[in-house]
């Protein structure tokens, strides 16, 4: 009797795993399927040949078979989804294979460390990493260094001094200059708002990029009065609650700077439901909610950092490194402040 049970358990596990394996396969084939479908749709059946020859050309552009582990902080945010889409699209274009991974939450630092270690064991040709913590990932990066696997940072920098002191290195950091990008929003606020009373929504602690965003804005608006500065852990609901609290204690606030889109959206909700007016909200990311909010006037400005371009830059950096090229320490990508003035243009570009 007991034997039967064990067999049942084993079968169940087997079933589950095969289900998962299929699921994984499905999603990747889905991705390539949908982009292929787009290409094929306008033309007729006979054109499929063309598409496949296209693909052949692409893969022959590189030596084929390059496998890259692309490890980000989470997949719970539109930003990461856009980056993932951009990464898959560019990977297909240049003919490399990427495994896109992320822990369930941005705060799961230990699990991200495990993912990097696993990627080293698997022996990828390169690892692209968006570090969830500016120090904790250092030992894992060193493990990759020891295995001669190049590491490219994307979107999030780490504590470079500490990395160097520990004897580790990364090939390059691909991304916007967070400080400069945030100062675009700060400049706009300084130019357009008189007698500013500002509330800051800080991000998850210990993340260098988020700190840079805070400083970049702050330094532009040094004559504003800082009424409150609190973290809402990059979360929309927390952003809502924290803003509500700040506004009930300090109704005179007229500028809010949220260092990510989720918190910015939470702030907008709180402002609307509280019936407040004349509060200029700025946030970071230019997610689709942000763009809609800029259009209807609830968001004054949002900093676009083009995750697709970052993904392209990171994958290109991998290819360059594997080709033996030297890269600069910072491969800068484009950032832009989106306001009512240029939002239509931004949408038009995105749809192209």
């Amino acid at each position: 009797m007991k034997f039967k049970k064990i067999i049942a358990l084993m079968l169940a596990t087997l079933m589950m795993l095969s289900l998962v394996a299929c699921g994984g396969g499905e999603s990747t084939s889905d991705d390539s399927g949908s982009s292929e479908a787009e290409a094929v749709e306008p033309s007729a059946d006979s054109d499929t040949e063309e598409v496949s020859s296209d693909a052949e050309e692409d893969s022959s552009a590189t030596d084929g078979d390059i496998q890259i582990a692309y490890i980000v902080k989470a997949l719970t945010d539109e930003f990461w989804e856009d980056m993932q889409a951009g990464a898959f699209a560019y990977a297909e274009e240049v003919g490399v294979e990427i495994d896109f991974q992320a822990p369930p939450k941005e705060t799961d630092v230990e699990q991200q460390v495990n993912m990097v270690e696993n990627a080293v064991v698997k022996g990828y040709d390169a690892i692209i990493l968006s570090a969830a913590d500016s120090k904790a990932l250092i030992p894992a990066i060193i493990t990759a260094n020891e295995a001669d696997i190049p590491v490219i940072l994307v979107n999030d920098t780490i504590d470079m001094d500490e990395l160097e002191n520990s004897g580790g290195y990364v090939e390059t950091y691909v991304g916007i200059d967070q400080y400069e990008a945030a100062s675009l929003a700060g400049k706009h606020a300084a130019e357009n708002i008189e007698d500013g009373k500002v509330a800051y929504l800080e991000g998850i602690s210990g993340v260098q990029a988020l700190q840079d965003r805070l400083d970049g804005f702050k330094d532009q608006v040094s004559d504003f009065e800082i009424v409150a500065s609190q973290t809402a852990n990059n979360d929309r609901n927390e952003g809502y609650n924290v803003t509500q609290n700040i506004l009930s204690a300090n109704p005179e606030v007229n500028v809010i700077w949220a260092v990510n889109a989720e918190m910015g959206q939470g702030a907008i909700q709180a402002i609307q439901q509280g019936g407040f007016e004349n509060i200029a909200v700025y946030d970071f990311d230019a997610a689709s909610d942000d763009i809609a909010a800029v259009q209807n006037g609830t968001l004054t400005g949002t900093v676009a950092q083009y995750p697709e371009l970052q993904a392209e830059g990171a994958i290109q950096a991998c290819l360059d490194i594997l080709d033996g090229k030297e890269l600069e320490a910072h491969t800068k990508t484009k950032a832009e402040l989106i306001t009512l003035d240029n939002v239509e243009e931004f949408i038009a570009n995105k749809n192209n």
Partner: protein, 317 residues
């Protein structure tokens, strides 16, 4: 042979599931069955396993402790504040942070045994209090920069070998706990209380005292886990250990411990923890999204609990 037979793996189905998983993943993913990956897995299991070891004792008594993840964060922050910010010796930091963790456990135990609070509620309150304190003390910030000698615990190898120190610590703790739970009065009483609390009381066991001890051990192990985690990451974070209690409880359940108490074994929990980590590791190597990993682990927990409930039903018949 006779001594070998004494090792109780609880219900052997968890061991068989583990072996099946290893074979299956080995076939599916070439990078899985390698020495490097085996060391990786053992390194990745230390945090979950040590945490689960403590929670397991509570579960043996028929209780539950969902505060451990937050206690991990709190004692890590205490360590960081003392060693990095105040510049006191490492030794002082370690002792005080373990004491804080122990105190959280004692507090849980007293609330549950003396004030008759439900374990779930009492430890839920502690979870929130510990997390809140960790965030407050840290001012929301990460604390990093520990001496090399301490980082050795989470990153170093035993002198002259390639065996990580944290693995040795984990195995040593499991051996000690196995011995205590199986051969010492303490262990037998804990099982007895979980099996039938009223009968244990009537037969003269000081139930309250042993329950407080069980929760204290759970707290203390959260403190040890925190040391390993901080040394591993070279940083103490107030948001560390979020939902770790779920992994710990899942390890116990998958390993054959019954949430009704009185059943299961220390080694079963070890296997349970390895199963969880292997699923993550294997799916990771295959490049499968973590969102799906969560689903799979949920499914495994469900299967383990179903198996447990079938076993219990059979016993009653």
């Amino acid at each position: 042979m006779a001594t070998k037979k004494k090792i109780n793996f609880g219900d052997k189905s968890s061991l068989i599931v583990l072996i099946a998983l290893i074979i299956l993943l080995g076939l599916l993913e070439p990078a899985f069955a390698t020495v490097n990956n085996a060391i990786n897995i053992l390194q990745q299991v230390t945090v979950v396993a040590i945490l689960a070891l403590g929670v397991n004792i509570v579960i043996f008594t028929g209780g539950i402790d969902i505060s451990v993840g937050a206690v991990v964060a709190l004692s890590g922050i205490v360590l960081g504040k003392i060693v990095v910010d105040a510049g006191l010796p490492m030794f002082v930091g370690i002792v005080l942070s373990l004491l804080v963790a122990l105190f959280c456990g004692v507090f849980n135990g007293v609330m549950i045994s003396k004030f008759k609070l439900q374990p779930m509620i009492a430890t839920l309150a502690m979870q929130s209090m510990a997390r809140g304190l960790a965030l407050t003390i840290a001012g929301g910030k990460t604390i990093s920069g520990y001496p090399e000698s301490f980082l050795y615990l989470g990153q170093g190898n035993v002198f002259g070998t390639k065996i990580p120190v944290q693995i040795v610590l984990m195995i040593a703790l499991f051996i000690i706990f196995h011995f205590i739970m199986r051969y010492r009065k303490f262990g037998r009483y804990i099982y007895a209380i979980g099996g039938n609390e009223e009968a244990s009381r009537l037969s003269g066991i000081n139930v309250d005292r042993y329950k407080i001890l069980a929760y204290s051990i759970s707290g203390l192990m959260a403190g040890v886990t925190s040391l390993v985690l901080v040394a591993k990451l070279n940083s103490a974070q107030p948001v560390a250990g979020l939902e770790y209690e779920m992994d710990a409880i899942a390890s116990c359940v998958i390993g054959g411990s019954s949430l009704l108490g009185g059943q299961g074994s220390v080694w079963g929990t070890f296997i349970g923890a390895i199963i969880i980590v292997i699923i993550r590791n294997g799916l990771n190597l295959m490049g499968i999204s973590s969102n799906l990993q969560k689903f799979v682990i949920g499914l495994v927990i469900l299967l383990a609990v179903l198996a447990d409930s079938f076993r219990n039903r059979k016993k009653l018949q």
